[in-house]
Amino acid sequence: MILFRKLLRTAWSYKAQFISMIIMMTLGIGIFLGFNMEWKTIEYDVGRFFDETNYADYRLYSESGFTKDEFDKIASIDGVDAATRYLSVNLEIKGEGKKSLAVDVSENYTVSTFTLMSGDEYDENGDGIWLSDKFAKLNGVKIGDSLTLEFQGVDAEVRVVGLIKAGEHMICLADSNQVMPDFNTFGFAYISPAKLREVIREKTLNTIADELTVKEQAEAALTDGMLTEATDRAFPQINLISDLGKSELEDAVKEKLGRTLMVVSKDDHTVYKEAMGEATEGKAMGSILPVLFLAIAILTMITTMHRIASKEKTQIGVLKALGFRSGTILLHYSFYGLFIGILGTALGGVLGYFVCKAVMSEGGMMGTYFDMPDWSAATPAFCYPVIAGTVLLLALISFLSVRAQLRGTAADALRPYTPKKMKKSFLEKFSLFGKMNFATKWNLRDLMRHKSRFAMTLVGIVGCMILLVGGLGMRDTMSGFLDLLDTRVSHYATKVNIVENTEREKVDRLITELDGDWESYSGISIDGYTATLDVVHNENGLFSVIDEDNKEIDLRDDGAYVCLRLADRAKIGDYIEFSPNGGNETYRVKVVGYNRSIMTESVTMTDRCADALGIKYSVSAVYTNKDSEEIPSSELISGKQDKQLLMDSFGSFVRIMDSMVLILVVAAVILGIVVLYNLGVMSYVERSRELATLKVLGFRSRKIGQLLISQNVWLTVVGVILGLPAGLGTLYWMLTALAGEYEMKLMLGPLTYSVSILLTFGVSILVGWMVARKNRKIDMVEALKNAE
């Protein structure tokens, strides 16, 4: 009990060291747990939500739609557990400005369904619409309200009967250009197959009436067969739940239907891919930042415990001389490490939970990205042994530090700790050393004498720089990327998405009307690797293709451009071969350059080049400078996207980025202050006798303070020189690991360099000043009493 009291009092006497070690452990464990909990929670929550909403394992696409007969054949494939004909189409809400919805229909309500948050249960014959609760909330829509949707020229009025969340739209993006969901302008909804049939009936009637000119005659002319045919065409997709492998399924489909279909597994479906991508990014983040913090925490612990044990040597000797067994003394001192470990782990657990929740909660960073009902907090199993191991390691560090002081007899242990004798270092071989002033020599020798302290200080400064350059550089790069998208790539006002397989003549008329440029994108396979073929016609300069240096490319017609991510597949001058998805043709084209693709992994060529190769393609989007409201809806327009709204949707992305940067900057400053202060105090205590001597000799406190700060400044200079490339390297690694889906170029502004360097110096000088201030109160008489 008395020893326990001694333990507490000794800990208190080293409070600066103890507090800093507890803070480092808290940060280390907290960040380790937080980041690992984050990805585990993504896997757990997302997986549970996908299960609840019967998220499809495969999506089969047919441009001409699926007949009931074809669907039955596919559903009967061995290994297919459930299947549904599926439609997901982007529709504008009439009278609501630029707001639109992805409207889904699942014929078999056991695949690709939703979770009801409030309102009526799903009814396959229902007349209403089940609307995204998040969209409803942000747009003030309530159950019972009516919406008018524009479906390829037909106005369909629907009443909101339920508010929902759906796995298929857990990440609700209008198209592949959008990076972040924006529920203010785009949401999703489900209607029943019966309601779809009603809308298609209306559309078909209009088409017939256009031909017959009188609607009443059209009613009579419309047969069930015509309606069924139109409905079949409306389902371009079959969603499946199946454990089959992709190639197994492709073969089975080919066998059943006698033709190849484009089969997309959930791994390639945007929602699943992005969600799992987030988990993978979390794992990547979880493997570098926490390791940095934990390593610094453990190294700080080793350095500090060694110093404390050295300072406690006489006490250890007294206990030994009094008759305490070595085991008891070792146990007593091991408890310091254990105490720090347990307290640090407890606080780190709390911090980890909050870090995880800051990311994975409805109000957290992922709350703007994922739309799902339940947010939990899951911990990967391996975290428990790692944490237990860390706590035991800390106890072991204390144990070994004290064991070193316990060696020999009680009399040996009673002798005070003697620091290492000073020897000439290699630096002194240089003649320049002799010419240095007293302060520089003193500091250099001190660093050579206390190498571990020196190394730890450098690690702290380099760590601080890495976090600052990484955090601020990430923001610069992302902002630069968005700026690039806004000013160099997109020069249009509105992007008009075209319904698949629309007759070219109709599209050409629209292009002329809109005075637009256009683009066609379709899936291709390059030696089995899935990519996108991007056929462009940008003579009006409404969008641009850019090169590695972000400069606009004046596209050549005699070959294709390969994006940077595919650059290792073909050199300039080489030929590449590719086949369209679902087709048997193979095309061979010369690579004439590399381009920076903003979103997709793509092969880009002009329409003239594609025509010369005989590639069949249909226009996917038309770009125009007309405002979206000026462009009337028509049967060939599947949706309109306002560039400004798209750029605004990046705003929330930038806000998430800002909060991450803030966390990194705060972590950098805490790391810097804690590590440097701890080591600074240690350095001060170790040198207190020398400092007192200088004071006795007549050195003013200010001059001694400058001496202490100058060591910090020089270490910071070295730390910054090492930290800058380390930070850039880490940033590059983070960009590759976290944003590999984009071809980003590191773009760091002068402000980032200045702020990183100045903040690191600021932290270093602040801590140096805090430590140097102690020097004013140094007790010269006390410090000089005992022999060294």
């Binding site: 020398e690 004071k695 006795v696 000799l697 007549g698 050195f699 200010r702 000089l784 060294e788």
Partner: protein, 233 residues
Amino acid sequence: MSIVQFDNVSKIYTSGDHELHALDHVSFTLDEGKFVVILGPSGAGKSTLLNLLGGLDSPSEGTITVSGADISKLSDNELADYRASTVGFVFQFYNLIPTLTVYENVKLISEISKNALSAKEMIGRVGLLDHLNNFPAELSGGEQQRISIARALCKNPKILLCDEPTGALDSETGVMVLKLLLDMAKNYGKTIVIVTHNQNIAKMADVVIRVKNGKIRSVEEQDNPLSADEVEW
């Protein structure tokens, strides 16, 4: 001519409710160029007296005048300047800077004193020119103390203050260091004040001040002090 004057000086240390009178209304004067020994048992207040005279501490009451200037109410910086210009210290445990060589330890004084003497000359005077580039840890205790004396005199101070300068040395080395200290002080015309509990050193002094329980018991001037060789150690 007096160089030091203590006038009714007290030093009180407070610890909780308890007050310790380390020095209790002490008054005395010291003449320039004299060798003074302050003698007393442990806890008598002799080190406190030396610390006040050396500007390491300030008195609770009374005034201390050194070369006509009152040092009892100086600021931290003024005290630092006083230590840099007026007094040189020699400690029981030498207090050399372990990370500086012998030469650098003495040369260090030129950083704070405009009147510093040549470091090499002073090291030559204490007979350690061969060890210029050695670190203190590579020297014996006696050698370290000789460097400490060289450093103290390098400042060219008016008064040399020594706190048990032979306390950590064997008697033979102690005598040698003592002789060197006195010779150097005499050659450079310094007032020297040694604090000790060693009665034998007192036999060599011009003036012996005996201290007990924070008070001056006696101030004794010796007309015929013994030389170090004449004292039985």
